[in-house]
């Protein structure tokens, strides 16, 4: 395999990068069954910004996010979160990193069914043995609008409410960066809008860094910047996106980079 030189989209190194990948390759399996999910991705996610990752199905969005978050090992290249280099960290190191610097919002199954909403929100802090900052906790709760639902268990909450609890959980420990993989994928458009609005506010008002994978052009339009993946490579980028500009870019990508270039 010859690494195709990807056009470096963010050329100058920004001092305030919350997470950064350089020359990132990810290969699954060997021989016949080999799949190259990422082929030399360079990307930098600035602090205090809301970045969306888009691309066709199978283009490597989730893989990129997992590598950036230290959930999956990279095949080649480097990943930094803040000033910590992830490649070479062992399980204990990665666990500490996730505890201290990273927050997650998944598409589904975000909450422990045995715990109440409040306990779920405070779980990362409890695991890390940290005391919650009461004022910040209240602020987060008020922003997500869950004040009267804190004592409920996940099974007693709607899907949208559950995702908002997950957002609050990700926010409450003020991580370096929050990774969200299709956080609104399972929600109707209204609940989705609530969640996205909340993510937007936490970036604008509290300077949180968020990276979100999405298929939805409307969702991507909430971000400050959209990067486009196709066949494991960064192929385009938009700043200050609108639903229309995102859709246009997606359409042009379909023409430029036909998917399925495994070899």
């Amino acid at each position: 395999m010859t690494p195709a030189a990807a056009p470096p989209l963010t050329r100058q190194r920004v001092e305030t990068a919350a997470a950064r990948a350089t020359g990132l390759w990810k290969v699954y399996g060997t021989g016949e069954a080999q799949v190259i999910a990422l082929r030399g991705v360079d990307v930098e996610l600035e602090r205090g910004r809301f970045t969306a990752i888009m691309g066709p199905s199978g283009s490597g969005k989730s893989t990129l996010m997992h590598c950036l978050a230290g959930l999956d090992a990279v095949s080649r290249g480097q990943v930094h979160v803040g000033d910590t280099e992830l490649t070479g960290l062992n399980d204990a190191g990665l666990t500490r990193l996730r505890r201290e610097k990273i927050g997650f919002i998944f598409q589904q199954f975000n909450l422990l069914p045995t715990l109440t909403a409040e306990e779920n929100i405070l779980l990362p802090l409890a695991i890390a043995g940290r005391k919650p900052d009461q004022q910040w906790f209240r602020t987060v709760i008020d922003t997500v609008g869950l004040g009267d639902r804190l004592g409920h268990r996940p099974s007693q909450l709607s899907g949208g409410q559950q995702q908002r609890v997950a957002c609050a959980r990700a926010l409450v420990s003020r991580p370096e960066v929050i990774f969200a993989d299709e956080p609104t994928g399972n929600l109707d458009s209204r609940s989705g809008a609530e969640v996205l609005g909340f993510l937007r506010r936490s970036v604008t008002e509290y300077g949180q860094t968020i990276v979100m994978v999405t298929h939805d052009a409307n969702a991507a339009a909430y971000a400050d910047r959209v990067v486009f993946l196709a066949d494991g490579q960064l192929v385009a980028e938009l700043t200050q996106p609108t639903p229309e500009s995102v859709l246009d870019t997606l359409k042009s990508l379909d023409r430029v980079a036909p998917a399925g270039a495994e070899h």
């Binding site: 997992h66 959930l71 399980d91 204990a92 998944f106 422990l112 045995t114 715990l115 779980l123 695991i127």
Partner: protein, 847 residues
């Protein structure tokens, strides 16, 4: 449907292996005990038929005391020289050899101590030459009255050499002999089975072993050539008349072997009892596994219902799964059982000089393996199968949140069953008769199932209280929440552990209470300063020379010595222990016996006193007469002159010394010594020990020492029971591993999520461990509570028999609880490791 079943079986290998393992262990125990008893039984057959090879007809007298193994010791009757002459005169008889053989020839070994045996008899017999497979290995047979020969087994144990002077204790006090020969048996065997054998000349054997000159225990008859043994048997029977047992050699061999096999079958029943406990516990495990599998497969089952599968087909698919597991477990369990049985048979054979007849596969083992293995699995799977069939087809479409089904029905039926069980136990303890054992068994079983049904309701509060202990850490709290998540699952898992712990605790409570009661009574009642008693093999009370009694009484500092004799007897047709004392008023004082009626003066010849409850059972009153027959005496009538309140030490008939001549060993087995005020106890003890120098089995002890030694045996019993019930606990541990493994599997995503938000591997393991410990401690607590309850019920029921005090073995109960926690930690190792290895990404994988 069948193919789907097989596929789902394969997909859940681990949990099936674990639940199958429980059945396998139970089946192994069952079939192993059958294989063992079969192999040993056939070996006995071979041994006795080779012993009888040269005997065409065997003549014995009707037993003097005919009791079964469990009621006491049977006492063979004696044949006289006249009988021998009668038999010799029967046409067709070529030769008659008179045989003398009785248990109780105790040889003093090279180290000056009596060679002990732990069960097998120590035969004293007459030398009849190298017949019946006997082979001299060294020296010659005894020809003078002070000569003996011994078998290789005894020679090895005693370290005696040909030419040594040897002391032998028999029904008579110690006598000295010269060892002139050592013999074994054909096939290079050191003995016929593990017995010790001493061979005397005939008159000496008759005198020492039977106490009767000219007497034999059997006559071995060889037929003249051409005479049919059966015809000869009938001819001899005709010549002798009533009162004899005449058998052909083959019949006799079979009869003796049958006696041994009866003892074996008793042993077999004990093993089967433990196997039953193991299988009972295994039932919980299988029930639980299938319940979990059905719960996990709800969607799949609903889908198949939506696609048109009938309820019957759903039940069928679960039951087929059970059938396959049961079948596989039965086959493997049978194989393992044959292995274990063969191993145990080898061990038993090498310990008892038995030529193993080869390992067979008795039909009973095969049938029981399949019936038990398949039966238990299918029964346990029935409930989950029915539940599976009730899954509505719409469940396939819904996000299944298994609703918390109410526990009311379970709790009510548990309470009812528990009450029924307790009632049956109480009733069983209060009544007499054949039904008692079944009532008790059924009661205990019902109580267990009742508590098991109640346990889900108990699980919630118990888990939340127990869990508080761990809630100080996040993993601890999560673990506690997890164990409270599915109270039924937690409860059944815990209930499996409960059974073993309850049985151990119950037995321990009973034994401790008996021990305490006995000790309490003894300290209150025991007034004797020193007790002379023997340490012998089970079933044989060692004795000392009667002639020593006056010398003991003359020792400085000794105020009184009361001697006690014991022998098996038949009183009014029933086998009873007969006790004779030389000085009843002293015994009354020494044991604080209280008169209930009549007087407790020393019984004169023809008089007897009896325990009150004993008398009440037989409808006897003061002034009534009873007929007693001792092994070497004629039936004699005795008048009851008094009754006393039973104690743990005395409860039956107490005679005067007039019955002693009828005993096989007319010598005292106990003596109670009172010292004069201010006497030097140590000096008196030395004096007594010096007198007893020729009776090395006798010990001089104070009350405390005596009781410690006597009660020490119960500690051994307790240990043995604990080891055997350990199997039940092992199976329960498999259950905990199974439940945890399934829970971990079920919660893969949850665990991944936790890992994603920063839970470390170690903390993940701790979480699973806490879950396990909460379950096992809950089970141990239940078990301890139920065990104490059962123990207390039995103690209460036996209050009349002298179990006055309920003593709960708190320290050991504490040990059981700690062990319960430890078992939890152990059981968690595998599932926790598995949980810690879960890939973080699996939480996010949307499938």
């Amino acid at each position: 449907m069948l193919r789907a079943t097989v596929k789902s079986l394969l997909a859940r290998k681990l949990r099936l292996v674990l639940s199958g393992l429980a059945v396998l262990l139970g089946v192994m125990f069952v079939s192993g005990s059958f294989v063992l008893t079969d192999a040993l039984g056939r070996s006995f057959d071979n041994m006795f038929s080779s012993a009888m090879a040269e005997t065409d007809v065997l003549v014995a007298a009707d037993p003097a005391i005919d009791v079964s193994e469990l009621e006491g010791e049977a006492v063979p009757g004696l044949l006289r020289s006249a009988d021998r002459d009668t038999v010799a005169a029967v046409p067709g008889v070529a030769g008659v050899v008179g045989e003398v053989q009785a248990d109780g020839a105790r040889v003093i070994g090279a180290d000056g101590k009596v060679v002990t045996s732990f069960g097998p008899p120590r035969f004293g017999a007459n030398w009849t030459g190298e017949t019946g497979g006997l082979e001299l290995r060294e020296g010659r047979g005894p020809s003078a009255d002070d000569e003996i020969a011994i078998n290789v087994t005894l020679a090895e144990l005693s370290k005696l050499k040909v030419g040594d002077r040897v002391g032998v204790l028999t029904t008579k006090p110690k006598q000295m002999f010269t060892l002139v020969g050592v013999f074994g048996y054909e096939g290079g065997l050191p003995g016929r089975g593990p017995v010790h054998e001493v061979r005397f000349t005939e008159p000496v054997a008759q005198e020492l072993m039977l106490g009767t000159p000219g007497a034999y225990t059997s006559l071995s008859v060889t037929a003249a050539p051409g005479t049919d043994p059966a015809a000869l048997r009938d001819a001899i029977r005709g010549a002798l008349g009533d009162g004899y047992q005449v058998q052909t050699g083959a019949e006799a061999a079979a009869a003796i072997a049958d006696g041994f096999k009866e003892a074996l079958s008793f042993f077999n029943n004990i093993l089967l009892g433990f196997a039953g406990v193991a299988l009972f516990v295994g039932t919980f495990l299988i029930l639980n596994t299938f319940s979990i599998i059905v719960a996990q497969r709800t969607k799949e089952l609903a889908l198949s219902r939506a696609l048109g599968a009938s309820r019957r087909q759903v039940i069928g698919s679960v039951m087929v799964e059970a059938l396959v597991i049961g079948l596989v477990a039965a086959v493997l369990g049978l194989a393992a059982g044959v292995g274990v049985g063969a191993l145990l048979a080898e061990v038993a054979a090498s310990f008892s000089s038995l030529v193993l007849a080869g390992i067979g596969l008795p039909l009973a083992a095969v049938i029981s393996a399949f019936v038990v293995g398949i039966g238990v699995t299918m029964i346990a799977a029935l409930l989950p199968a029915v539940r599976a069939s009730r899954v509505p087809p719409v469940a396939a479409l819904q996000e299944v949140a298994t609703p918390d089904r109410p526990l009311t029905k379970l709790t009510v039926s548990g309470t009812v069953l528990g009450a029924l069980g307790t009632g049956a136990i109480a009733y069983g303890l209060a009544t007499d008769g054949d039904a008692v054992l079944w009532l008790l068994l059924g009661g205990v079983l019902a109580a267990f199932v009742g508590v098991a049904l109640l346990s889900p309701a108990l699980a919630r509060p118990a888990v939340s209280v127990l869990g508080r202990l761990f809630s100080w850490s996040v993993p601890g709290k999560l673990g506690r929440l997890n164990s409270g998540r599915n109270p039924r699952r937690t409860a059944i898992t815990a209930a499996a552990l409960m059974v073993g712990v309850a049985l151990i605790t119950g037995v321990n409570t009973i034994i401790t209470s008996a021990d305490r009661s006995l000790r309490g009574d003894a300290t209150d009642a025991f007034q004797a300063d020193l007790i002379i008693s023997g340490q012998g093999s089970p079933g044989m009370l060692p004795t000392f020379d009667e002639a020593l009694l006056p010398k003991m009484r003359e020792l400085a500092g000794v105020r009184s010595v009361a001697a006690e004799y014991n022998e098996q007897a038949v009183i009014d047709g029933e086998p009873r222990m007969a006790t004779a004392v030389t000085d009843l008023p002293t015994v009354v004082q020494d044991f604080s016996l209280v008169a209930a009626a009549g007087v407790l003066s020393q019984p004169a010849p023809g008089e007897v006193v009896v325990g009150e409850s004993y008398a009440a059972d037989s409808g006897l009153a003061v002034g009534d007469t009873v007929t007693a027959r001792l092994p070497r005496g004629e039936p004699t009538t005795f008048r009851i002159i008094g009754m006393y309140q039973a104690t743990p030490f005395y409860g039956g008939f107490i005679f005067g010394p007039d019955i002693v001549p009828g005993m096989r060993t007319p010598a005292p087995s106990f003596a109670y010594v009172r010292l004069a005020d201010g006497a030097d106890a140590a000096a008196a003890r030395k004096g007594l020990e010096a007198l007893l120098v020729d009776s090395p089995e006798m010990l001089v002890e104070d009350t405390g020492q005596f009781l410690d030694r006597e009660l020490g045996e119960s500690a051994q019993l307790l240990l043995m029971i604990q080891v055997l019930l350990g199997l039940a606990i092992l199976i329960a541990v498999l259950g905990v591993i199974n439940t945890l493994a399934l829970s971990v599997l079920e919660r893969t995503r949850e665990l991944g999520l936790l890992r994603a938000i920063g839970l470390s591997r170690a903390a993940t393991m701790r979480m699973v461990t806490v879950e396990a410990v909460v379950i096992t401690v809950f089970g141990a607590l239940l078990g301890v509570a139920v065990g104490i309850g059962l123990g207390a019920a039995v103690v209460q029921g036996l209050a009349d028999e002298g179990l006055k005090e309920l003593a709960i073995p708190w320290s050991q109960v504490g040990v059981y609880l700690v062990l319960g926690a430890l078992v939890g930690v152990l059981a968690a190792v595998l599932p926790a490791t598995r949980a810690a290895r879960i890939n973080v990404l699996s939480a996010i994988a949307h499938d």
